[in-house]
């Protein structure tokens, strides 16, 4: 999550009791942000079909507050579902840039995480981690809806630990296939 505007950051930490104030605000912000992770509909291929099945009536992502927004301007999470080709890579980078902070990326499926079965293909980028910083890797080909929901819950927990003062350590979480 991005740092707060510079002028506030410096003053609030030195302010006696500032820490408590920030923690209070963190609590509220993280509670709101983790329970309303709007995700950018960014279905590339087969994992997108599984993502739709997860979002539909049987597995239902709405109960987690996860809504699919078509425009990056209103999205917090970018779920990259599918293999990433060299021709598509610059657009993924641009879409990631155009998402407002705080933003996260969940790489869904073996192809998005590490290139999947296409090791010897000329036009496939071996993992979206090379284009955008990824928070959660969900393996599987395609990962079952339960795996995806597990990955999303892990992402919610990570958002709860964040602070508006700055991002803590961010090594990615991996959810098994």
């Amino acid at each position: 999550m991005g740092e707060v505007s510079p002028d506030l950051q410096s003053r609030v930490v030195k302010f006696p009791g500032g820490g408590v104030l920030v923690a209070g605000i963190d609590e509220i912000f993280n509670w709101a942000r983790s329970n309303s992770m709007w995700s950018l509909t960014f279905g590339l291929s087969c994992c997108a079909i599984e993502m739709m099945a997860t979002a539909a009536s049987h597995y239902d992502l709405d109960r987690f507050g996860i809504l699919f927004r078509a425009t990056p301007r209103q999205a917090d999470v970018m779920i990259v579902a599918g293999w990433v080709s060299v021709k598509m890579a610059p657009f993924i980078r641009r879409l990631y840039e155009q998402m407002p902070d705080p933003k996260h990326v969940l790489a869904m499926g073996g192809c998005a995480c590490a290139g999947g079965p296409y090791r010897d293909s000329e036009t496939i980028v071996k993992g979206v981690g090379e284009i955008v910083p990824v928070d959660v890797f969900v393996y599987g080909c395609p990962p079952r809806p339960e795996n995806l929901i597990h990955g999303l819950i892990k992402l919610q927990e990570r958002i709860r630990e964040e602070s508006i003062l700055g991002i803590k350590s961010r090594e990615p979480i991996t959810v098994g296939g």
């Binding site: 999550m1 991005g2 740092e3 707060v4 505007s5 510079p6 002028d7 506030l8 605000i25 912000f29 425009t71 990056p72 301007r73 657009f91 993924i92 641009r94 879409l95 840039e97 155009q98 407002p100 902070d101 705080p102 508006i164």
Partner: protein
């Protein structure tokens, strides 16, 4: 009576001011050139939107606003119709009737159809 007015105005201003100030302070602020570009489904946007638009959009927009505001007026009347009695009911009918004439004219002139 004056006090109520003053309280009302100050609460309004304070509430508005506070939310804007707080959000300006607490929201992350990390602009970068690509983020400020216009979003066009991924690729580089072609040209810009400052072009001569077709005038028909204006007709559509005005018609929409007109009937939207009409609907907005009907809500309070619908809620309070029980207490207002028959006179108000006929008054609303006249109001809606006038707008219907306008709607009919627009339909006849072809304002509703998008044709080149």
């Amino acid at each position: 009576m004056l006090i109520a007015l003053i309280v009302f105005v100050t609460v309004g201003v304070v509430f508005m001011g506070a939310t804007f100030l707080l959000s300006r302070l607490l929201r992350p602020h990390r602009p970068n050139p690509v983020k400020l570009q216009s979003y066009e489904c991924g690729p580089e946007p072609f040209g810009d939107a400052w072009r001569q638009m077709n005038l028909h959009y204006y007709v559509f927009a005005i018609l929409f606003v007109l009937f939207d505001v009409e609907a907005a007026f009907l809500f309070p009347v619908a809620l309070a119709l029980g207490r207002l009695g028959w006179f108000a009911f006929f008054e609303v009918l006249v109001f809606v009737g006038l707008l219907l004439i306008g709607w009919y004219y627009a339909k006849k002139v072809g304002g509703m159809e998008w044709e080149r």
